[in-house]
């Protein structure tokens, strides 16, 4: 779908305010939860792009972060654990005019959903996947997640995590994501820009958001110390540079790390047979005679 269509607004149409993207249902997150920041950034991004509420679908799995769809006044699917990306894939392929956001946690997208993540990225499905990474399982009360620090002690790993933590940015790049960025829930304005950029990007946009779990794994201090903006002259079109950065970063860089123009599956499939025919059973059956 042409980029412009997503931000088109009928001339003279009323401006949609941030407030109109709120569903009126109060988020059920704990006080201080990073997900509040991500939600407000999402409202802002939608307003910035002036998207029609009924043309946006927010899809999620299960987890604290995956509750997000209920807090938006758009369409939404609160699916099952780990399957948000394939559900979103179906929505996008069925109606490429829709704007799709996939929101979920590090467990949802990088534990049970790992395989779907890789394949949605490889197919370059045109959607924006916002991973609210709190490095723990919030909803099930503080077990380790695939992004937990090495050595992290939790109820499910009382002797410390031994698996090498997944590096979400590296993993997204290796999987073929065509827009890879990082944000921080405590910086919702920057994050709003990044999300808007992801929505504008015509392909699979992955946004890794550091979003602390205030209740079970409060990492605000850690992130405050470790986040850093990308160098001002960062060339987001250099895959090797992006991979090298992901491999070696000691700081967690915020901003758009990688961006690439590549045909999205949702566009490609529409071009296979440009002249759509009406299905006619009698004509179709000829092949069997």
């Amino acid at each position: 779908m042409p980029d412009g269509a997503k931000v088109a607004r009928a001339p003279g149409a009323e401006v949609i305010s941030v407030k109109e993207y709120k569903s009126g249902d109060k988020p059920i997150w704990c006080p201080g939860c990073g997900d509040f920041g991500v939600l407000s950034a999402t409202y802002k991004a939608l307003a910035a792009l002036q998207l029609q509420r009924h043309e946006v679908v927010v899809v999620s799995g299960i987890g604290c972060s995956s509750r997000t769809p209920y807090f938006l006044s758009t369409f939404g699917v609160h699916g099952v654990h780990g399957r948000s990306l394939p559900i979103a894939t179906g929505i996008k392929l069925a109606n490429p005019a829709l704007t799709i956001l996939v929101m979920g946690g590090d467990g949802d997208l990088m534990s049970i959903g790992t395989g779907h993540f890789t394949h949605a990225a490889a197919r370059n499905i045109d959607l924006t996947c916002v991973m609210m990474d709190n490095q723990t399982y919030g909803l099930t009360k503080a077990q380790s997640s695939p992004t937990s620090f090495l050595g992290h002690k939790s109820k499910s790993t009382p002797y410390g995590v031994v698996a090498k933590p997944i590096n979400p940015v590296l993993f997204a790049l290796a999987s073929g994501a065509s827009y890879v960025a990082r944000g921080y829930s405590a910086r919702p304005n920057d994050l709003a820009d990044i999300i808007a950029g992801g929505i504008r990007h015509p392909g699979f946009a992955f946004i890794h958001v550091q979003s602390p779990c205030a209740e079970f794994f409060n990492t605000y201090d850690y992130y405050d110390e470790h986040v850093e903006s990308l160098p001002p002259d960062w060339d987001a079109h250099d895959l090797k540079a992006a991979v090298d950065l992901a491999l070696t970063e000691e700081k967690r860089h915020l901003g758009v790390i990688y961006e690439e123009e590549r045909t999205a599956l949702s566009d490609a499939v529409r071009k296979f047979e440009p002249d759509t025919k009406q299905f006619d059973l009698t004509a179709y059956l000829q092949r069997f005679s």
Binding site: E55, V77, H78, P86, I87, I91, L93, H119, L285, S289
Partner: protein
């Protein structure tokens, strides 16, 4: 008098190849000139190597099953001969490669030994032409005009002139060769009725039905015996404005079907048992969030990887009860290739109307066998679309409104401004999470009410036909692809003066209870034949209708023959 109603079986090793294609070609040629055919195929799970066999029944009258045994056996090798010769009918024909097969003396059969491979190698200098050579011999021996076979060879090799030439030569050689043979048997195809018929497999018919019903999204992961539905959809859907996705696994396939249907497109996936097992969590989501969709399960022999190229009706339990928690789903089973159309269109109709997952249970035999079918009357297949919130105020829109029939209006993103979130959590009428006992009770009842409503429209003659004696003592209840064998067994029993009838519901959940109860109470004995070990359908009838049926179970990867069912009828009615 010549007999133009006979069964040919061909057996051989897939390492050599050609067993299935030889049979398929012969059957197709016979069908083209107007004969009715009914084929069956079974092959090993390896790509190369292992025994495969093919059977075609050819007749001038309608045929409903693969029949009993065979009249003509074409043995590519000794193993094939040994495995199948016991099934040859009295005065049957054995056609075999005289260098590879040593038949034992048997006065009851007629034998034609021909050194097929040697001829191909030495006379034709074209080893790969053995199959076409055999085809030529078959045409000559059993009265198939070779013109139609030639047509097929020409079409197949139209881009490779040299190969075409050589194949035609082999065909002709075989045909001419039969003039040197003293024909002793009486099998001979007379003139057929020349009525145009379609030759289709069950999977072909299911796919055509789905396209007709308006299916415009398909996602699947390859698995035998459902892969060709994916393959046909992949080539066809884009032509009609649809999309087909080869997913990374079955969970992704069903998840994306849920997404596509949520987005307003009629959507389907097709798999077999192992893939369906992986789908059951998402099946519950579809039922909970009330998403219309169709899942085809072409059953194969289980459990686990089991016998992946063999049939079994072993996934009924899974279709009825798979997944956690209490939730409604509709289960259908087509009874023949022709019936696959109707049931496929019905599947979409019920899915859209009742906004729930519909499972269509086919099996390996039905999916892959061909039948010649006559006119497909598209008018009798009503196409149904889901209820939308037209005229409803978006502000007060209730996606999961409590209604008498359980059906609530469904908004489509992009088209309707009635935004809502489709939930996997229990929810109130808006769709918002709500964990109170009262809401859970009411919502569960609302969801199940859809089955009660649906039952009213499926508890009828068309979808639950009865066949046979009006005053039957024995009532047979079958499901799925066994219909043809049951019908022929009933015919045989009626001819023998036994009072038998059969009922064959297409909808297995909700059951057409009224018709079934009436049928059951009208007979003395109920017999439930099915191709599985546990008697899954008999169990279903016992649990729901209290029916204590006599069970006839067969497993092992082969369908019932009419004779097997007839024998059981006799056992119940005569010997008991």
């Amino acid at each position: 008098m010549a007999k133009d109603n006979f069964i040919i079986r061909i057996g051989g090793d897939t390492a050599v190849g050609g067993v299935i294609s030889t049979g398929d070609n012969f059957a197709a040629a016979a069908a083209r000139i107007g004969f009715r055919t009914f084929t069956f195929r079974t092959y090993p799970s390896e790509i190369k190597g292992g025994h495969a066999w093919f059977q075609v029944r050819i007749s001038n009258k309608p045929v409903y099953s693969l029949g009993d045994g065979c009249d003509i056996l074409i043995a590519f090798d000794q193993h094939a001969y040994e495995l199948h010769q016991g099934d040859l009918s009295q005065n049957g024909v054995l056609l075999y490669d005289s260098d590879l097969v040593q038949p034992s003396p048997n006065g009851n059969i007629i034998r034609y030994g021909i050194p097929f491979q040697k001829i191909a190698r030495q006379e034709l200098e074209f080893v790969r032409g053995t199959n076409v050579l055999i085809l030529g011999v078959m045409a000559g021996l059993f009265g198939l005009p070779p013109a139609s076979l030639k047509e097929m060879v020409k079409t197949r090799y139209k881009r490779r002139a040299e190969l075409m030439e050589k194949n035609i030569q082999a065909l002709d050689y075989g045909y001419e060769y039969t003039k040197t043979i003293q024909k002793e048997d009486k099998f001979w195809l007379g003139t057929a009725d020349h009525v145009a018929r379609l030759i289709m497999t069950g999977n072909d018919a299911i796919t055509a039905g789905a396209l007709h019903a308006g299916c415009r999204y398909f996602a699947g992961y390859p698995i035998t015996p459902a892969s060709d539905i994916l393959e046909t959809m992949a080539s066809q859907l884009p032509r009609f404005g649809g999309v087909c996705l080869q997913a990374e696994d079955e969970m992704a396939a069903l998840a994306s079907v849920i997404g596509a249907s949520y987005a307003g497109t009629k959507a389907m996936t097709a798999t077999s048992g192992p893939g369906f097992s992986l789908m059951t969590e998402l099946l519950g989501l579809a039922s909970m969030a009330e998403i219309p969709l169709v899942i085809v399960n072409s059953q194969r022999s289980g459990p686990s990887t089991g016998m992946p190229t063999k049939l079994e009706q072993g996934d009924l339990f899974q279709a009825l009860y798979g997944g956690h928690g209490d939730f409604p789903r509709i289960v259908l089973a087509p009874a023949s290739v022709q019936n696959c159309f109707r049931v496929s269109v019905l599947a979409f109709g019920l899915a859209e109307k009742y906004q729930c997952p519909v499972i269509l249970l086919s099996d390996q035999s039905l999916s892959h066998r061909t039948e010649t079918i006559g006119h497909v009357d598209t008018d009798v297949f009503p196409v149904v679309d889901r209820l939308r919130p037209d005229g409803v105020d978006p502000e007060t829109y209730l996606r999961y409104q409590y209604t008498d029939d359980g059906v609530s209006p469904m908004a489509i993103p992009g088209l309707d401004s009635h935004t809502y979130v489709a939930p996997g959590l229990e929810h109130d009428e808006r769709g918002h999470p709500q964990l109170s006992p009262e809401v859970h009770e009411r919502m569960t009842a609302k969801r199940f009410r859809k089955l009660d409503t649906a039952r009213l429209e499926i508890d009828n003659e068309e979808l639950c036909p009865r066949y046979g004696d009006d005053q039957a003592d024995l009532g047979i209840i079958g499901w799925g692809a066994t219909q043809g064998s049951i019908r022929e067994a009933v015919d045989r029993a009626l001819a023998a003066g036994l009072k038998v009838a059969a009922m064959h519901p297409r909808v297995l959940n909700p059951l057409p209870e009224e018709r079934l109860r009436e049928f059951v109470s009208s007979v003395k004995h109920v017999l439930v034949p099915e191709v599985n070990y546990q008697g899954q359908f008999a169990h279903h009838l016992a649990a729901n209708l209290g029916v204590q049926a006599i069970r006839l179970n067969k497993i092992g990867g082969l369908p019932f023959t009419p004779g097997e069912i007839y024998n059981k009828i006799e056992e119940v009615l005569v010997h008991a």
